[in-house]
Each structure stands twice: as C-alpha cells, then as structure tokens.
Symmetry: D2
Subunit: 344 residues, 4 copies
C-alpha cells in the first residue's frame, strides 16, 4: 500500500510503499478515506527537538482519519465489515488505575498512532476495535477526519461549564479555532480571542468570536475589562502553548475564574503564582487528549448540529499524494485544517 | 489602651498607648482576650519587602483573636454586649461582584485588620458586626484565638474532597500543621508531610501524618511511590510557598490529581507546565483567605471535635506584654503557634 | 398612592389608595415603573388553598418590578437617588447559616414581597438596599420588570451544565418558556418541550425548542428516544409542578441524567423511586428562588444578549389600572407574561 | 462441583452437583474460597415477588466472593493462574454509551452473577477477566469476600463529600452498617443512625455512629435538631428502602443538603416534593452498584486501613455446607454479614 513515511532522522517526509498490515485478534483493518494533518505531524515533518526525542523512524505518521472497516480479528466485538469509522488514536493499556476508572485519556502507558506506532497516512491502518468510533451517515468524510483535533477543543471547552460566560481564548491555531466554534455552540455569552496572525483572527470572528485582538496591542487589557465591568474573563481556554500567552491569559482572568490549559510550551515557564493563582483563587485544569468516549459523543453531537463552522475551518482538501503542499500551507500559516483525501 | 505597634519603618515592634477606638454604626467594640501571632506578623516584625510595600506605620498589628463585645453601634444587628466572639479579619466591600455572589474571600477591595488598618494586638478593637463569629462555651479562649489560621488550613483541605485519599502536604509551618490535623479529621486515608525542620516533622506525626520526610532526602520519591502503587499522591496541599516545594509537590502527584495551593512564593516561580500540568491532566486550585462563613462553620465543628490536636499546635501561651519572646520563638522555629493572653 | 390590594379573603383584587411607605435606615423608596404578573399573583387572585394559608389581607401584592430610587435611608449604602433598579423580592434574614454561607435563596426566615409583606403593584415600594439590582440602560423597563421569573428559569437551567446536551422541559408556562430561551442561549444541543397547550407549544418553538409535543400523545416516548439513540434526555427541567409531568419527565431521562425541578405540585406525589431514581443513578436538584446574586448577573447577561426572545415572551403590556384584563388573559391561557406599566 | 441452587420456583435452596464451567476466551475460571450472603440472596431464598419476576431456575446463586484463578481463556489479559481475586459481579455490555464513558455501573444491558446467570455459591465460577479484582495479601479471605456490599456502601458515601459533616443514615442492615464504618473513615464529623432493631443500633455505635436511635421514637427530630443548631443533617445516606425512612430522612435534612439513596422500596412511594425537595433546594442522588473500578480502589484502601470495623460486621463465618444456618440467622436478624467458607 501507499503511505507517508518519516524514513530517517531529519526534515521532510517520503511517499512510499508498505505491506498492508494484518489485524490482531482484537483489532480491525481499516481502509483510510481521509486524514487530517495535525500540528504534531508538522513537528515531525520539521524534525524539532520533541520529534528527535520521541519518533523512531521508519514510521508511517498521521493520527486523524476516517475510513472503512475491511477486516476484523476474531475477538473484535461489535464491528461490521463495511462500517465507516473514525478512531481514537490513543491506544490505552486498559489495565492501569486510570484506565480502570474511566480515565484512559491519562493512561500511564498510552501509545499514539503515527507517533509511537504506524499511523493513518496510508491506504490501510490496523487499530484496536475498542478505539473505533462509528460515524453516522450525516457526517461527511472530510468532517469525520477531524474528530481528533475537534475532540481536543471539545475536551477543553467542556472541562468547565461555559454557558452564559465571558470567555477568553488564547491562540487561534486549528484547535483554538475549533474551540471558538465549540464554545459558541456550548453557550458562551461572549468570546474574545487573542491571536497574532490577522488572518486567523478574521477566521475566529467568522466561527463565533465577538472580538479578536492582537495580543501585542496595548489596548487588549482595556478591551477585556470594558466587556467585563473591569473584572476580567470568567474562563480562559489556553490553546497556544506560548509562555507569553499563558501569562497574559491568566492575568486577564477575574478572581475565582477557571483556566483550561491545553497548549504545551516548548520549555518550562515562569508564572506569578502568588498574584495570578493564589490571591485570585484561580482554578487551573490541565487538558490532555480526549475523554474516552465522552468527548466523542459531544463532538459527534456538535458535528451533527453545526456543519457550517466546521466547513469554514477545513480550509483545504487535497489528494493524498499532494501532502507536501498541505504541509507547506500549514507551515506558512495559510491553512487552518488540511484534509488529505484518498482515492482507492 | 495598651497596644503593640509598628511605629515606623524598620525591624521591630513597640509596646505603647492608644485611645480606645469608637465603633461606627455598623461596628462593635471588642475587649480582646487572646490573640495569635501569625507568620504575617513576623514579616511585619522583620520588615521584609512585602511589609515595606504594604504597611503604613504607625499601625497596631495582629489579626487573629477572641474577645468580648463591650459596645455596639446602632445598626450592628444581632450582637449582644458580653458575647464572646472571634472575627473574620478580612473586611470586605460588600458590593463587588464577588461579595454579591458569596465569594467575599476574593473581594476586589478587601481591607485586612492589622495590615491595612489597626489590628487586634491591643486591649480593644473595633470591627464590622457582620464579621463577628460568636464562640460556643466549649471552645476555650486560646483555641478561639486561632480561628483565622485554622481557617486557612480548613479552606485548603475542603477545596477538594480528601476522604479516603492519599495526601501530600508540603510545608509544616503552623498552617501546614493545622492542615495535617484537619486532613486527618476530614478522612484522608494517608498523609505524607514534606518539611525540612525535624522538630516540625515530629509534630506533624503527632497531629496525624503517617509519614514525615525531609524533602531533601533522596528517597522521598521512592517512599511516595511505594505508598501509591507507583502512581503518586492524589491530593497535594501546598502550604510552604517554596518554589522547590511547589515543584516537588506537583511532581509527586499522579495523573488527574488535584493541588490546593496556599503558600505564597516570594517571587515568580518556574514550572514544567507541559509535563506536570497538561500531560497529567492536573487541577490546581489557588486558595485565598477563608470562605465566609462556610470555613468558619467547618472550623468550629473541628474545634468542638478535636481539641487535643489544637492543643498540641498551640505550643506557647504568653502574657500580652511578653510578645517579644513570642516573636523570637517563632523566628527561631521553636514554636508552632503562639497565643498572647490579655489580663484586663 | 394607588395600589392593587387583596383586601379580604376571597377571589379578586381591588384597586385602592395607600399612604406612600417610608424607608427604614437600610431601605430605599422606589417609584415603580413596570411590574410583571406572576403565577403566584394569579393564585392569590383566585384565592386557592395555598393563598388561604399564607396570605393575610389587606396586602398589596406583586413582586416583579423595575423602578427608580426616590429616597434612601441613612444606612442604605451604594445607592443613588434617580438610579433605575429592579430588586430581589426575597428579603433574607441575613443571619442564618444559609445567609452566612452565600445561600440566601434558602434562608430559613425569608419574607417575600407581595406575599408576606406589601409588594410592588403600587406607585411606590420600600425595600432593603441590599436587595437592589441596578439596571443598565440597554435593558428597557418592560424587560427589567421580569428579572424575577427569568431568574427562576436561569437558576434552573444553570443548576446543571446544559452545553451540548439533549434537554427535556416539562411545562411551558411563563417560567418554562423563559427556560427554553435560556437553555438555547446556554448551549443546549436540542430542546424538547412537553406542554398540553398548543399555543404555548408554538411559542416554545419560537423561542428555541426543537420539538414541542403534547405530553398526552402516544408517540412522545418514541420521539424522545429517536432523538437520543434510545437512551432518553440528558437533563430534565421540570417547570410544571404536575405530578404526571414529573413522572413522565423522570421516565424519559437516561441513566445518570439530572433533573432540575422547580414546579411545585399542589400535593404529595408518588414516584417510582427504585426504577427512576436508584437504578438509573439519577440526580435530582430542587430549585428555589434565585441565587443571590449569581442568578441576577447571569440573567442580566442574557437580557443584554437576547432581547428578541424576551420580547416574544412578554405577550402583553397594559396600563397599571387595567390589571384585571391581565389577570383574565393569564387565567385563560391567552398570555405568557403580562407587564403592567405605570404612568406617574 | 458442589453448588447452592435455586432448583425450582418457591422458597428455599438446594445443595447439589454441577459440572465445573469452562471459561470463554475472555474469561477465567476461579476456585471460590469464601462467599458472602447478601440480602438479594435472602430474597431469592424467600422467593419474594421480585425473585419470581427476575430469577429463572435452575440457577446457582451468590455474587460476593473471593477465590483463586485456576484457568484463563486465551484472550484474558493480565491474569495469572494462582492469583487471588475478588470480582465485580455486574457483567457489563462494554459497548453502550454508559460503558463507553466510564459509567458501566449503569450499563443498559448488565447481567448480574447469581441473578441473571450462575453465581459464586459453588466450588468454581467463570467470569470475564475484566471484572477481576486482584486482592493484596494483607486482606484476609473473609474480608475480600465482601468487597461487593462494602462497595455499595462506599459508592453511597463517596457520592457526596462527607468530611466534617453531620450525617444521617437510615437503615442499619449490612450495607447500612458498612456505610457507618466507611463514613467514619471518610471523615464525617458526626453520624446519627436511625434503625428499629436495637441489636443493629448497638453495632452501629460500635462501628462509628455517635447516636443510634429508633426511628419510631418521638424524640428523634428533637435529637437531630439539637446536634445541628436546629437545621437538620447535612447528608442523608438512605440504606433501608423503607418508604417511612425515606420520608423521615428527607424531612430531617437541612436546606441545601444532599440525600444519597441506595435502598430500593418494594413499591412506588409518595413524597412531599414541594416541601422536602424544592423549597429546601435539596439534591438527591440515586446510587446503583459500584463505580468500576473507582469504588473498588476506595474499598481496598479502606480494607487496608480499617480491618477492625470489618471484623465486627462479619458476625458469622460458616462452612459452605452450613449455608442454611446462615440464611436463618439473617432471616431472624441475628447476623449482619455471614461469610461461607469453602474447604477444597
């Protein structure tokens, strides 16, 4: 089969051939129909420090996809050949305390497809039947291909009730923009986005933000305070991983507020613990992955109700073998979400 | 009346005379019977950077006390002369969003007695009638004098359910040790304390810790992991304000755990946001003051049920005019809680 | 001044004269500009069993209003003459455990204006300054007059996060319909309303319901199950007080769901405790009044964002002296919310 | 193998022979070492209405046990032959929304061992490997045999934080008494038990109750109010299923309190919904089974810390073939928990 590989250490990816994998007894074989390019894939493409430490080439990358079940192992219950499915890309151990208490998203021995084992940028992928998510007919392939990043956004938004509240979202990359759309869907009263890229600020406004500001602008604090009787935002969704954004985000929260933080800084950060966390009586919630499968149910509901906003965020659909162009668009900040489509 | 003053910038406190204050219409005049020395008082005594910025001499200091109502303003409802009372030392504005929603502990315009206005290290103090806490007869004066720091500990412990859980407490100063006693009372399954001072570790064991370790010991992580199937603690109570303790405390938490943080670092701190907060799916709760008056009800219940542990933590009771000795004992780490007693 | 009285036991209300009341030291005098007629007023009008037990004529009734401060007692802080205000009609004791812990809505000694003491169907009313709610200019009088019933709906909706969830609302009286509008605003994914009155079902659809069914229809259960993969609704808002609706509502909930119940049945009810509550692992939350003042902040945000839906629900605006017509419209189910307007 | 059967409709049980079952691919075969008799077993013994509807003889009953793995199917991961295990007796479907979101305890298609399929009152039992709970050496067999009912109590106590609170427990059968012990362990400040049987009231006092009263006594309300400043209890654990106890329990709760209800009434009940649920702003939580496997971790921690109280509650240990005596002791209220022990 055709697949996109990280063949050896260093920048770039290669298009190549690999044998079709065979499903284990609890696994299924899926024919991939569409796959999304994630920021993580971009890191691997660029071969940054994180990739150098984590990735062991040769590896088929990719972890966001939709496809069709073509074969199933003998113990893979509740699966039908022909079924259209997406799948949770975090393969949990199933036995640790976290897994046994419904917290597989923080499993202590998780393996991620396209990172720790072969991924979905290929004609076929094998995955544990328990990880499958059957996709309703109403959801088109290119939407179903992004259950994974939409799920990150959904997990972040749902970590703290946002109904009727004033939200601040720092970072309008793909997941940050999904978070804007989801927060609007989930009843946020007003949404302020901080993002340096003007094009992304514009899209933020299109998918539900009331205000999109450049974080470097002098007037940011004044604007936030104007909308909040001088108190600050009620909830922060930190989607950037930028140390400056984390600092600014915490600073713009009111006392007793909640910060749901997903963005991963490249290094340690410094924060004003006393002033921003303790005196304010703040709550901070670290967000990792997607809750299995609460987040998936929530994401599916959203997809069934709000297709228009998802359409706006999938800015490019490209044939599988034009993946290089997708990576370039993303590297230059010209795309939000790129979906690769297979022609079997 | 006699009072303990910060007369002018610089180290030390002075014993002097001041006129008995007169209560405003919503206030009461209280004859002080006993008062606790807090770490904050020690900061003012030593005239550290924080004191230099916040304190405006001359000022009567002190904010933990019990006394007797001797007069009441015309609008001070529900107060009887002769009543024995302690009082919340945070005077809230009563009008901000926080105050109007039951969150006076994070009032945006709070004034603290003994810090922003005259305090309780005096024969008499005036305070808003709404701040009073009537004291039941079963609670002796020297216990009632420490409602305030016990309340800080109670607020921290009650911020996250601890029943049946493995707790880690970093820092065994007075409030940290109160937290040990309260956590035991509130059903923690096992309590591990990290504290450099061996004498305080010993007291920690006396009031309820299962294990008290020197945080500098190599074996700390091994010990915590041994007690937790290799996972780490379920709840952290951070009572030290030490950057190293915050780092170590977060590191020793399991995935999905909660850190309730009260200790205020002298400066900004650095933390491994990605590893300790996000990948772990941690929750961090900043704790400020005491909830009004939930924390007071909880503290009173505790005082009525567990007098023995409080007795162990009030290591010294001194006459009011021997306050210097109290400050010295505390500065040299030879006391946990010192209560000054008045002889009217 | 002119006022609407319950003069003596028995059906009906009378229009009469009363002296303008004088504010106590903590109170303000308000010139009423508009007032809403509530279901409670209708009960008093009709002199049902509840009224016979609770109401002591002569009494000026009414508790939903907006007006203008014309005088203030000497201790009524933070009030300006001329200020436009609504007010919380539950006068709390301020001293019980509930009041002291931010739970004044369940105060053990509450007095309600227009029920336990004179109300707002008059040219003037006196009320405790702490109960005032200043009204922003953007909110017109006839909207500000209904803060109280909107607040009941808001309190019910906000008692359980509804973002992204399938809601069932039983009962589309005025508060039930406000709940539909608020639930839509607060991010409910889909809203099903059960209501026997076809006119009210129609209005429910106008203000945000996806489906409005007659609870007596055979197909109700089938419809709810169709929308929920055969599981049932995720949240019930019980706004009717009808024993049959409570039973049906609980029955249509999925396992692990939450029922927020506000409607007060006229008598004891019977329920299938084992099947509907225990085996389902249900949570039931009783809702009383409005949280002070969390609910008011939330309601104000809603009013500032969603004026159109409120307009649809205030079906009639009548001059104060045509109150009889308002009561008739309500008794015949021809109005949702009637607002009486004063011409000073 | 030997087993205890319900052979045919009607009162009683029979001791008989059955073939040793064979484990399926995901199952293990366990040699039973000890098993507890549950109230459910008593219902089946007595052949009450519930049993007549649910039980299909012939059936081996029993669902509380500890044993030793003697064989495992090919797909039964993480199991070692020789391992000592207890097991969750609710066999969940693994595929419904509840199962996929960590809520298997309310699975829509659960099968219970000893009720819907053969149980553990036998020399051997087969069960799904995912249901196993490995037992640490420190926990003796007769304790490990009661993980199931202890888990019901634990689930009820942990449904609402009890640390520092005044608890009311209605019903001191085996699970009610386990709840007393667990609530004491989990930090309840004071525990009042209502139970008609004087012998059980005495045991309640032995395992942690502060007060054990006959619910029929006139002075009950006065006593509860005396301990709660006239407010009522903060948390109710309803363990009896008696309609009168449910009514009394709700009535003795303060405003804003929480009722965790586990006891299943034989029929519909009537309650004063307006007065007890709505005006009080009560929360009611229905409790079903044990959370998988949160409750098991919590129960194990308790067993490791508080063996003495469990010992008091296992009033009788009998050889397997004297099961008739166990049932008689329970029917006459002379035993709390009876454990049957195998001699292989």
């Amino acid at each position: 089969m055709k697949a996109i590989f990280k063949l050896s250490p260093g920048r770039g990816l290669a298009f190549g051939e690999a044998p079709v994998p065979e499903p284990g007894p609890r696994e299924v074989l899926i024919r991939v129909r569409a796959a999304g390019i994630c920021g993580t894939d971009l890191h691997i493409y660029g071969w940054d420090r994180w990739s150098q430490e984590r990735i062991r080439p040769p590896l088929i990358i990719g972890h966001e996809f939709v496809g069709e079940v073509v074969a199933a192992g003998g113990m893979a219950a509740k699966v039908e050949v022909g079924q259209r499915v997406s799948a949770e890309g975090h393969i949990t151990c199933g036995h640790c305390t976290y897994c046994r208490t419904g917290n597989g998203h923080i499993c202590r021995d998780v393996k991620i497809i396209g990172v720790d084992r072969d991924g979905c940028f290929a004609e076929y992928i094998c995955i544990d039947a328990n990880n499958l998510w059957p996709v309703p007919d109403e959801i088109p392939d290119h939407h179903a291909a992004v259950f994974d990043p939409l799920g990150n956004a959904m997990h972040t938004v749902m970590a703290e009730p946002v109904g009727g509240k004033l939200l601040l979202i720092t970072g309008a990359g793909a997941i940050g923009l999904f978070a804007v759309a989801v927060a609007r869907y989930a009843g946020a009263s007003r949404i302020i986005v901080l993002e340096p890229n003007p094009r992304k600020r514009e899209i933020a406004l299109q998918v539900g933000a009331d205000l999109a500001l450049n974080p470097a602008d002098k007037g940011v604090e004044r604007e936030v305070m104007k909308l909040s009787d001088g108190l600050g935002a009620e909830v922060l969704l930190e989607m950037s991983g930028s140390p400056a954004a984390i600092e600014q985000g915490l600073h713009l929260l009111r006392n007793g507020a909640c910060a749901c933080v997903l963005g991963i800084p490249p290094d340690r950060i410094t924060i004003d613990w006393g002033r921003e966390v303790i005196f304010k009586g703040l709550t901070i919630k670290g967000i990792n992955g997607r809750r299995m499968f609460d987040t998936w149910y929530q994401s599916q509901n959203f997809m069934l109700r709000d297709q228009e906003r998802i359409d706006r965020l999938i800015t490019h659909r490209l044939p599988f073998d034009e993946f290089e162009r997708g990576f370039e668009l993303l590297e230059h900040g010209q795309a939000v979400k790129v979906v690769l489509e297979m022609n079997h």
